[in-house]
């Protein structure tokens, strides 16, 4: 269970009560007369609903369906997946050198080629991941916050589990998860052409606007999310790496570093000035081209809210392995 899920349980016993006819009538009267003062707030509000006592506050492991999106969002930020660490999965590729840095095209080609050497994975295959997350200004910020989490998730992202601490005891919390867009089931209907995938994933949601910068960021983020969360078949993984390279503005970074300090090569989408978007980096192992990290850097910061320029949020894979079920250590 991640921190968003745990937060969702806090004050979860506050009831969600329907509106009484009296309260609705009061509101109706107010708006009908366009005299908002006729809708006495405290007296005719919903105080009466407090009379309905909800279940007693207690720690519950049962999670409402409403937590699904939060979990998905959380994993998108922290869960970086290595496609396959089985022997031969990309290990034969040649690492870039200082003398011969990779171009974006070469990076996409090598990442795709490495992915194609992976094996097919059952949707119900359990994957264990240990992730180090970091937040701070630069990777050596003495005030930076560094944490390590471990979790288990099926390849299709629908089932997950993690250890939580309840009253001083450690308990395994398992649940249904999912809620990622696109869903695992929807992946099969993604276009086969990388550029078409970009166009599809770049579609903004309601209210997200449709600037070029946002569309590019959307496509980059969603591809990263798909690669992070799901254990994909080799062909789709390969296509997604090529799609990353097709996103306008994306470049190759040959001396990237994950949150844990691992050296890597990265697909980078710089933040256009004034866009309010972070710079995104998707970091691959320079030899195997497995995905090993994700970094977001707020280049500008936010003076209003005290966010320093250059603050980064990063995650790196410390360990990842296929296991037979939740709680099974590799």
């Amino acid at each position: 269970m991640n921190e968003i899920e745990l937060l969702s349980l806090m004050r979860n016993d506050v009831p969600c009560e329907e509106i009484t006819p009296q309260v609705e009538q009061a509101f109706l009267e107010a708006i009908a007369t366009s005299d908002l003062s006729t809708f006495p707030r405290r007296q005719r509000g919903m105080r009466g609903l407090r009379g309905a006592i909800g279940p007693r506050a207690r720690w519950r492991l049962a999670i409402a369906g409403g937590l699904i999106a939060a979990l998905a969002a959380g994993l998108a930020a922290t869960g970086i997946r290595v496609p396959d660490r089985s022997p031969g999965s990309g290990g034969a590729a040649t690492a870039p050198s200082a003398d011969q840095p990779l171009t974006l095209t070469e990076l996409a080609y090598r990442a795709s080629a490495a992915a194609l050497q992976g094996r097919d994975i059952s949707p119900n295959q359990w994957v264990y991941r240990e992730i180090e997350s970091y937040g701070g200004v630069g990777l050596s910020d003495p005030r930076g916050v560094r944490t390590t989490d471990a979790n288990w998730m099926t390849a299709n992202g629908l089932h997950c589990a993690m250890w939580i601490r309840v009253g001083g005891r450690r308990e395994l919390s398992g649940r249904e998860c999912g809620g990622v867009e696109p869903s695992y089931a929807q992946l099969s209907s993604l276009p086969s052409d990388p550029a078409a995938i970009d166009r599809y994933l770049a579609q903004p949601g309601p209210g997200e606007g449709a600037t070029t910068a946002l569309r590019n960021d959307q496509a980059f983020f969603r591809i990263g999310q798909i690669l992070n969360i799901y254990a994909l078949d080799p062909k789709l993984t390969a296509t997604l790496y090529r799609a990353l390279a097709d996103i306008p503005g994306v470049t190759a970074l040959n001396d990237a570093r994950t949150a844990a300090g691992q050296a890597g090569v990265a697909f980078v989408l710089p933040a256009p000035p004034g866009s309010g978007l972070p710079q995104d980096e998707l970091i691959l192992d320079p030899a195997s081209y497995n995905l090993i990290g994700w970094t977001e850097i707020d280049e500008v910061g936010d003076q209003v809210h005290g966010v320093p320029a250059g603050e980064m949020q990063a995650a790196s894979v410390l360990e990842e392995a296929f296991v037979s079920g939740p709680a099974v250590q590799p």
Binding site: N2, E3, I4, L6, L7, S8, M10, R11, D13, V14, P15, C16, I19, V23, E24, F27, L28, A30, I31, L36, F39, R41, R42, M46, L49, R50, I53, R56, A57, W59, G65, G66, A69, A70, A73, A77, T78, S133, V145, T147, D149, R165, G179, P206, G207, E208, L214, D217, F221, S275, L277, P278, E296, D298, D302, V304, H305, G306, V307, Q313
Partner: protein, 209 residues
Amino acid sequence: MRADRRPMRLDGGDSDADVIRRSRLQPGDFAVIFRRHAPRIRRYVVRRVGPDAADDVMSETFLAAFAQRGEYQSAYGDALPWLYGIATNLIARHRRAEIRQYRALARSGSDPVMEPFTDAAAERVTASGMHRRLAAALAALPAAHRDAVLLVAWGDLTYAEVSVALGVPIGTLRSRVSRARDRLRASLADGDPAALLDDHTDESKDGTP
């Protein structure tokens, strides 16, 4: 987006955008929006500021929404993010009280917000250590980060919807949630929640006077 997240439309099935558009000529139709969403908005507000302030905030939210319905962008079929945004802005007036309640929970384990929903004094002091730690972290978060993460966790909105609710680019929103999550995650480490509160609380970050 989860299909089960929205209440069923038992009131004619028109989208919120349709209802709001109609309410510009027939103000009474806006009651449909109130009926559909007031329970969820109030629950969210109660979780943030407690039942007493929630009555005011919830009512003001819908009155403000009614007054602003002419500006509602009909491209958004679902009005819930818009309403959450209004409610969140109104919650800002109660920020000090909100933070005090988080601190009280962190220090004592007793949650003043939950008292009306708990029927025995003995049950009140049952908040888990985990919730105490989370409360301490919430108290210490910058307001914008707290708004973002609580709309995800308690408002049950997607990132895109929170982006609409708060009127910020989704990249900015994602970054805020990510930062908030780091603080929350750090708070879950073993230790005394009250000590965590002392370490992290900085009310000036909220921009409150």
